[in-house]
């Protein structure tokens, strides 16, 4: 089965719509949303409705820290993120808020784990920055492959049977076979707010038969997404960073 995986949509309608189209064009049969549907971007209602609709049709979604902060105010967010969360809270209906609050913090499926941040203590929202962060997460699960997001930069880690780690920055469009002899942690880039210097939206496809993961970059209408952030009075940096991919 072909999975399409999306992380950190962040209420960016233009980016998420472009990624959904790209995933469908590549034959996606099952959609996985790895959290942070809202926050930062100007279209939270559309983003939540879209994911709710997909989940109703069999997609999987887990909760991110921004989704969580709608219901449970966070004291660790920076000012821009906090301002966006406060604005978003006022835009969402009770049903939409309940949907976000009800999302599981992690999901297991066959030999795969889906989580927003990492597996060792998912509610602490720690980042996977390097091989030691990746190792801690991988030690916490028996499953062969973990998919996560949160850091907005794509990365692919593996752990051999002797617990040796490797790290790799995936190349867009190049399939990588996740060999069965080792365990893997696939960190997705961000759909709605990439921070690796490339403004194009990021998602990945995973084929459960061939075990190949392919990261993709999708160009989208950045100008409109940024203009909507400004038009809604959100912090300007949240708009300015989109064309920079930072």
């Amino acid at each position: 089965m072909r999975l399409a995986l999306f992380a950190d949509i962040h209420a960016n309608r233009q980016a998420f719509a472009a990624c959904l189209d790209a995933a469908r064009a590549r034959g996606a049969e099952r959609l996985i949303c790895l959290g942070d549907i809202v926050g930062y971007g100007a279209d939270p209602e559309w983003a939540v409705d879209t994911v709710m609709d997909l989940v109703g049709k069999g997609a999987v979604a887990v909760r991110g820290n921004h989704d969580n902060a709608i219901g449970v105010p966070s004291d660790s967010m920076n000012a821009d993120a906090q301002a966006a969360i406060d604005w978003t809270r006022g835009r969402l209906s009770a049903e939409q808020k309940a949907f976000l609050a009800g999302l599981p913090i992690l999901r297991e499926e066959d030999n795969r784990l889906y989580v927003h941040s990492e597996a060792s203590d998912p509610a602490k929202w720690r980042y996977i920055r390097d091989t030691s962060d990746a190792a801690r997460s991988m030690m916490a699960t028996e499953l062969q492959i973990t998919f996560c997001g949160h850091i907005h930069r794509p990365g692919l880690y593996s752990m051999s049977s002797t617990a040796k780690m490797t790290s790799f920055v995936p190349t867009s469009g190049m399939p990588v076979q996740l060999l069965t002899g080792r365990r893997w942690l696939a960190v997705l880039g961000s759909v709605g707010q990439p921070r690796d210097g490339d403004p194009a939206a990021s998602f990945a496809m995973f084929d459960t038969t061939s075990r190949e993961i392919t990261y993709h970059r999708v160009p989208y209408d950045v100008a409109t997404a940024a203009a909507r952030i400004k038009a809604n009075g959100l912090p300007l940096w949240l708009a300015d960073r989109l064309p920079l991919g930072r």
């Binding site: 051999s160 049977s161 002797t162 040796k164 190349t171 990588v176 069965t180």
Partner: protein, 481 residues
């Protein structure tokens, strides 16, 4: 695993090899009619963990490779059941078989290593660095192409490098390992050129340039100590060959050939190798130089991470096909401007200026008489004269007069044999001649294995007929194909 057993449709034949890392079995498959080998890693307790990791690398990389310079891959099996890779069985022996006959004649080694360099060029273009070039990694097809085998230590630019963090010590074959590998660098394709330089040196002198030490301490000496120049060992060693060998063995990768294709080019044209001080050297560097290198090891600024594709793209072989007949000055001037633009963006490009001396179908031996010989030399001089304004650094320019009946075919063959990346060629202006002779540039553009730029001068002569008007009214040159 035993003879007669079946695995994923492959029937196991006999075991043909048992090495330290893997065993090789012949296998057959009803749907495949080339000889096949199944490589099975040694994975039991007590085996070298490197066996598993390098097998994983081969399992990832081999199915991605294509072309005549690698064994075709027909299937892989994973560790959950039985790990294996099935590949085409290349008949014959590896170069290792030659080791008792060393040194081999210079020209024989030149031809062998030229083929290996062409194979490396193909591999590097596929974003893979072999990292274990040595005699036992090289075989040959019956048609002559070199085939590289054993990708267990290789690095693929677009795949995770499972060896990068696996071992604290660099893994590979000590006598052939490039110095930068000892510093943990695994992403520079010029490491393979160093290994091929070791092979060149060994096969022409019978001596390994850095000995056979397997200890890290012994291996590290090559970070500061240069090898004995081959001419110190064999006084009759050709200057051009020493130039090539010592350039491959430069400690700093930047001082080596920028690409395997450029190394193959020099091996293919020994008479045009630009000789530098390297060629004349009879002794190793003085101790003061060696000490300076040794005690300033950490002083060199860290090199930015290299990108195989970017490096290859910045070092193309550009061939300019020039017509030297009458009324070609304007066109050749426009070609020079175009070539300058191409070279200015490619700091390590090399330029091959090509002219075809057209042979008469009826009097093929004309070129061998005195008049023909003069004509050949005149053309070489004219090509050098045309290229002079580029002021290209030593070794970046070569000139070639090809003698052929069919100019387009000659240019195409030159491009294929010399791994040319980009052909620049002028379009014939005189419609009468084009009508009579056909368009060389159109045939080259249509059939070339690489990028072709067809150049026309900006001031066009008025069209003489309707058919040509359409062709000549095309947007101003140069037209890119």
């Amino acid at each position: 695993m035993q003879p007669g057993a079946e695995l994923d449709g492959f029937t196991i034949g006999e075991r043909v090899h048992r090495g330290g890392m893997a065993t090789l079995w012949t296998v057959t498959h009803p749907g495949i009619n080339v000889p096949l080998l199944m490589k099975v890693p040694l994975t039991s307790e007590g085996e070298d963990p490197a066996a598993i990791v390098s097998f994983e690398m081969e399992q990832m990389i081999l199915p991605r490779l294509s072309g005549p310079h690698v064994p075709a891959c027909f299937g892989t099996g994973d560790f959950e059941r039985q790990a294996y890779v099935v590949m085409e069985r290349i008949p014959g022996q590896t170069l290792y078989k030659q080791i008792d006959k060393l040194p081999l004649p210079y020209d024989e080694v030149r031809v062998i290593c030229g083929k290996v360099a062409a194979a490396l060029a193909s591999l590097h273009r596929q974003n893979v660095i072999h990292h274990d070039i040595k005699p036992s990694s090289v075989m040959f097809r019956e048609r002559g192409e070199a085939v590289l085998i054993d990708f267990g230590l290789s690095h693929h630019q677009h795949l995770p490098d499972l060896l990068q963090e696996e071992f604290r010590l660099p893994y590979g074959t000590a006598p052939y390992m490039a110095p930068e590998r000892l510093l943990g660098v695994r992403d520079d394709p010029r490491s393979d050129l160093f290994s091929l330089g070791v092979l060149l040196y060994f096969f022409t002198t019978g001596v390994r340039p850095f000995g056979e030490s397997e200890t890290l301490r012994g291996m590290r000496r090559r970070l500061w100590r240069d090898p004995h120049p081959p001419r110190e060992l064999r006084p009759d060693y050709p200057l051009w060959l020493q130039e090539i060998v010592l350039r491959c063995l430069e400690i700093d990768p930047v001082a080596r050939y920028p690409t395997a294709a450029q190394l193959a080019f020099d091996l293919g044209h020994p008479e045009q190798v630009k000789l530098t001080a390297r060629a004349q050297r009879l002794k190793r560097d003085p101790l003061s130089t060696v000490w300076r290198r040794r005690f300033n090891l950490g002083a060199a600024p860290p090199q930015p991470k290299s990108d195989v594709a970017v490096q290859l793209a910045s070092s193309p072989i550009v061939a300019v096909a020039l017509d030297l007949g009458e009324e070609t000055e304007a066109l050749n001037e426009t070609i020079r401007v175009t070539a300058e633009q191409v070279l200015s963006t490619s700091p390590s490009a090399r330029l091959a200026c090509v002219n075809v001396l057209k042979l008469n179908r009826l009097a093929i031996d004309r070129s061998h008489d005195e008049q023909g010989q003069n004509k050949h030399v005149d053309r070489l001089v004219a090509l050098q004269h045309w290229a002079r304004p580029f002021r290209l650094a030593e070794g970046r320019l070569t000139v070639h007069v090809l003698e052929a009946i069919d100019p387009a075919a000659a240019i195409l063959e030159f491009a294929a044999v010399n791994l040319v990346d980009h052909i620049i060629i002028g379009a014939r202006q005189n419609s009468m001649r084009r009508a009579l002779l056909g368009s060389v540039s159109a045939q080259v553009a249509g059939e070339a294995p690489c990028t072709v730029t067809v150049v026309r001068p900006s001031r066009l002569t008025p069209a003489t007929d309707a058919g040509d008007a359409a062709a000549d009214a095309a947007p101003p040159p140069p037209a890119l194909f």
